[in-house]
Symmetry: C2
Subunit: 323 residues, 2 copies
């Protein structure tokens, strides 16, 4: 049975992580609390806090305040989701109505700002300059990744390098920072901090690649409409494989429709089916595995311990994730 | 001739501050650079950088990197202006078209996020935990102040304490942090850091009170439409004095219209004229002076030096400002 250790650990840690998130929400201005509770209670895997906690413990840091460090990145993550939702005007987030459909865009923007600010405060309370620097870089790179993604929207010619740099910025950087901050707070030597960061960056890239593959899975499996990225004009890897498989004529038609952002729903469905039938989603997962291998190599550098087994299992969780 | 020292100093420092802001803008994702240049080039008094620089120099810190510290708060300030403009949907900022009327709200939200993130990075590069903590608190309190202001919008019964706490959060906290960070980077003792923070907080409160008085000045004097705060449903001090001067019946009518947010333009003009005629704007300035006195008392604690004279002049600048 896979991930049994991870599941057992999660069942122990998740309530504490959620309790800390609840308390952090209570420290925010009361006006934004309902909105922040909405986003926290909508779920989420709490991957980032868990990575910080496991990395720190593996490196012999187990103070209670590790939860504050862990949730700081979850708060930053939630802040980006809130601002994204306003920007994308997406109706659904984590299977529930997106925040801006229930609250005003003003409240959502400010709640995002407040979450980011309070996450930052949690980190600076450690009075550890390297931690603060790491967190500030995480904010800045995540933000740059999102901007780059929007810049490349509806561009069928975006290069693979550019796509990788976008997902590194918007997703992997934060996950990398989660591991790195766990190592920094544990006062690990430089090579260990770097290995933790590399581990995180590579599972982060793999996580997003798998996410991009799942985006074309059947709605019955994921509970989300299939092909959302296609509709949003994101040339993710499965879609890139699809586009490359087209004849020159079909590719020109696809490019025109992709640029126009007006691909009808039934055509989106056909494209998603083709991607699954031709296995472009699985090919994306195979590519993701190459990053997971890099993650495991980085993990080798870290000392042995039961948290290392959990981190190892986490790469399997990222690999096998179906929704 | 008043403020002659300050003006001379500004004419020396402003080009360097602006040069650093230009360079900081170039470090941002290229997509948001035009927007960020727009907000920087629209002007601004650069009060915050100047306060950081002067405070640090007075306390014998004069490294070139003081400009980076100074502009970090200007970047945070610009970020809040950008998010505010989207939220308020205000057509004009600093006498020029507001950013979101020229760029998409998406770009404005992201440019704000990027500015805040990069300002934060500039601070964490100092590898000084107290500086990072101060900056993170500045973000968080500024954000809370803005949320509180929106919560109190169109509420004619908002208390004076609440109003003061709003302007402390949204304006004075950042100005206080500007002075405090100058003292922290100079490794000043705790009582000096605290005096610098107090100086900043009190001129910050005074600055906003004067701003609120200026809001009811004639358009010919300021270049801005008179009574903008009234239209936005902000019960600022001049408006509070006006409301308190009304008969019970008139006050009920005012409250109803204020709550509804539907005060017609010609009535706004009449109210602005009444505020000027009855001197409620000047009464607000008198109240602001009480905070400037507190600022000067805090300034007394700081050591002597030519920057102290400039900081002294700055209180006069805040007091005498007409637009």
């Amino acid at each position: 049975m896979p991930h049994i250790l991870l599941k057992a650990k999660l069942s122990l840690e998740l309530p504490r992580i959620n309790e800390h998130l609840r308390r952090a929400a209570e420290a925010l201005p009361s006006a934004v609390q309902p909105l922040v509770r909405h986003i926290f209670e909508a779920g989420g895997k709490r991957l980032r806090p868990l990575l910080t906690i496991l990395t720190a413990r593996l490196l012999n840091y187990d103070n209670e305040d590790i939860f504050d460090l862990g949730i700081s990145l979850e708060m930053l993550h939630a802040a980006t989701l809130l601002h994204d939702d306003v920007i994308d005007n997406a109706p659904v987030r984590r299977g529930k109505p997106a925040a801006h459909t229930l609250f005003s865009p003003t409240a959502v923007i400010l709640a995002g700002d407040a979450l980011l600010a309070e996450g930052n405060v949690l980190v600076t309370r450690f009075h550890n300059a390297a931690l603060s620097h790491c967190f500030s870089k995480a904010i800045s790179e995540t933000c740059a990744g999102e901007i780059a993604e929007i810049e490349s929207q509806r561009d069928p010619l975006v290069s693979l390098d550019r796509y990788l740099s976008i997902i590194t910025g918007k997703t992997a950087c934060l996950i990398s920072s989660a591991c790195k901050m766990g190592a920094i707070v544990a006062k690990a030597p430089e090579n260990i901090v770097e290995a933790a960061a590399q581990f995180g960056e590579n599972i982060g890239i793999a996580f997003q690649l798998v996410d991009d593959a799942i985006d074309f899975a059947r709605e019955e499996e994921t509970g989300k409409p299939s092909g959302g990225d296609l509709k949003e004009g994101k040339l993710t890897l499965p879609l890139r494989y699809y586009r490359e498989s087209l004849t020159e004529k079909d590719r020109e038609d696809f490019d025109e429709a992709f640029r126009g952002g007006n691909i009808p729903d039934d055509q989106c469905r056909v494209i998603a089916e083709t991607i699954r039938r031709k296995g472009f989603d699985n090919k994306t997962r195979t590519y993701a595995n190459s990053f997971l291998e890099k993650a495991l190599k980085a993990l080798d550098v870290l000392p042995h311990g039961k948290e290392k087994e959990l981190l190892h299992e986490m790469t399997e969780f990222v690999r096998d994730r179906k929704k």
